[in-house]
């Protein structure tokens, strides 16, 4: 194949996953936690696409598209929760949102 081999793709995927994990652990705003989650999901997608290319098998790409659908669902529910929290005038801070009770 032209360009870099699959280990280079996997290295980028690993570094992106680390960046996303640090964002989820470090940031307090639920919006930025969701954005960091998107980065982690995309790192997984990049690894799937890279392995799909390595084996010459399209199943990995199909799974990457399923992951995209799951990410879209997660954003739909997560943003719905954030909007519901904002309407109840709760603080948008994951450290203070430690109770499930509404």
């Amino acid at each position: 194949m032209l360009g870099p081999n699959i280990p280079w793709y996997l290295a980028i995927a690993g570094i992106l996953f680390g960046i996303g994990a640090v964002g989820v652990m470090l940031r307090r705003s639920p919006l930025i936690v969701l954005l960091s989650l998107e980065i982690m999901l995309n790192a997984g997608n990049l690894a799937l696409v890279g392995f799909s290319r390595y084996w010459g098998n399209g199943d990995g790409q199909v799974f990457a598209i399923s992951v995209m659908a799951v990410a879209a669902s997660e954003v739909c529910v997560g943003l719905g929760l954030i909007v519901a929290m904002a309407r109840k005038r709760l603080a948008l801070d994951v450290d203070e949102l430690s109770e499930l009770r509404g």
């Binding site: 992106l16 998107e38 879209a72 904002a86």
Partner: protein
Amino acid sequence: MTASLYVASFGNFLVWVVWIVAALGCLGSGAAVISFTNPFYSALALIGNLASLAVLYLLASAEFVAAAQVLVYAGAVMVMFLFVIAYLGGRADAPWAGGPRWLRLAAVVAGAALLAETLVALLWKSGTLEHSADIGPSFGSPAEIGRIFLTDQLLAFEITSIVLLVAAVGGVVLAIQAHERKQG
């Protein structure tokens, strides 16, 4: 040394250059997403991250996934994000990071440990991943993806549709509850 060999090696060089630019853009915008205080800028940086990932997908012969990435992620999902951030306005701004200092330090150490683990595992096995399989021209095309989705991976297709339906209903239920509570 024939001319076609020169053309092939120039093509390889070009692919390397595009790959490195996309990879650096990907990592830089990823770091930008988690370092901005304003979520609006973070969301804009994530759009750049998704676009450069789409370039990497293209270079790995995943044309349909790259198109879906730009349409679904950079288009639909990010518009929803930006809409919610604009709806929340100034309330969306949050302090950069909270908690005691040792907790922040522990988060960075945990992230670095995760990264080191991934890279060590990769270096350990990278020798076995040198030679990719040969692929036909239809690899990664919409027709090929559709064929796999509707034959071998039919169960994944159906489960995806149910997940999307549940998420849509969940989003509506959340909105209705917030509305009722506001009225009553």
